[in-house]
Subunit: 242 residues, 2 copies
DNA sequence: AAGTGGTCTAGACCACCAC
DNA sequence: TGGTGGTCTAGACCACTTG
């Protein structure tokens, strides 16, 4: 029950455990997607308890160096995917060009009505018809984001009928001759909470990046509003202007 | 010592505590920058221990709803600052226009040499002369970011002599006739670690957003490379293209 | 000096996953 | 079925900040 004196200088124990693990990762002893030893084993080998070990692991997770998968354990994070949200965009092409393997799952397609918050974001009127598409996307078998896409059925009649497990941007261009323009992007870091956390198979509270994008066509007609929930350690945003 | 049965359904206790606090914040019972009751008081009033209470607080912190200040307590987060990193930029003007109060402190100005990682980012050669400027910026008295700015002394001779507690962009325009162009922006969420965490008065491991920006002038000459470390709950990025 | 958050112990039971 | 992470208890001492 007694808390021990701090031993080595003033650095907290959990940060010293963190440093040791970080060094092993940097030295390449633990390659990307390798599983770490179990929390109990780590605790014992560092002469401490699980609580302190978990503090160290949480640090590394916050830095984006490791991630957890269900209750299977802790794994070394692979490099971040480079992502430019201002470009017309094929997730699949982008992932492939970085030597990784993409996958997309359509979770849901619904015809619904514009809610007040969405009216704010899109300029549509509350109650207007809208098509909602929900997808999950993976890189090398790990889910990295879920997205809700709101499509304007006036500009995209019959959009519900298509296969959404491919590039939406290509679909819009080929079937509707839409060249997306005038993108307005908003993003901020936040924790992933429940519908998204569950879809990604992570605990509520896992760090994420929330990205939204509104696009219209060359005539200024609203085409789509996209809302993406990324795991925070999986991407690096890159934008070029002028 | 015994762990108790879960009582109310399957929602973990720390998430129920989180929900209660979140409701109080949303209902306006706890205004922005208000201090929460102490961890011990919260623990007792929810019939649990500090460890569990801290889990709940960490959740709210990850969501950007509360923040901590030194060892003074937990506070309700004010609204995020809207920030467009692609624009020529006066922090002061931007903060003021959002009804908040800005402050800037220059922490350090050094003439130094380009290191390998910086050569990569800027296109300069390793060993080239460079001026390094380090600043901390506050909103309503709370530090929200620290930044390292690397300035090209060839394009900006005598730059060290100026006062950096004002807008750098305005300085460049007025004194050097620089119109910044060709910005390349990169950003990703990550934890803030030591020099930055300390400068911001937060614990190592606090969630942050890392933003870099490289700019050149109208002739393509490299002007500055900027590296910003933001507290994750303090900003919302907004970009408009085309 | 009193109170705050920061760190830490040494256990426990549970839910879920892989074998 | 055994091992994993997820949750939780009931304490303790420490470092720092505040009156």
């Amino acid at each position: 029950m007694e808390a021990r004196a701090n031993g080595e200088g003033s650095t907290p124990l959990y940060l010293r455990v963190r440093d040791q693990l970080a060094n092993q990762i940097e030295a390449g002893l633990l390659a990307a997607n390798t599983r770490l030893p179990s929390e109990r084993v780590l605790a014992e080998s560092h002469g401490t308890t699980r609580v302190t070990t978990r503090l160290a692991l949480a640090q590394l997770e916050a830095e984006g160096r490791i991630y957890r998968s269900n209750r299977r354990g802790w794994f070394v994070s692979p490099p971040r995917l480079v992502y430019n949200p201002t470009q017309d965009y094929s997730f699949s092409d982008n992932v492939t060009s970085q030597g990784r393997t993409p996958a997309t799952e359509t979770l849901e397609v619904t015809a619904t009505e514009v809610a007040p918050w969405l009216a704010n974001k899109t300029g549509l009127a509350v109650g207007d018809a809208i098509v909602r598409l929900r997808r999950r996307r993976q890189v090398d078998g790990r889910p990295v984001l879920v997205e809700n896409i709101y499509l304007n059925p006036k500009r995209l009649p019959g959009i519900e009928q298509y296969d959404f497990n491919r590039s939406l941007w290509k679909l819009l261009r080929e079937k509707y001759s839409v060249e997306l323009q005038g993108k307005r992007i908003e993003m901020f870091p936040t924790a992933l909470v429940d519908p998204q956390a569950e879809a990604l198979g992570v605990n509520a509270g896992t760090a994420g990046l929330y990205v939204t994008r509104r696009s219209h066509d060359a005539d200024g007609v609203f085409v789509e509003f996209d809302e993406e929930f990324w795991l925070h350690d999986t991407l690096s945003i890159q934008v070029e202007v002028q």
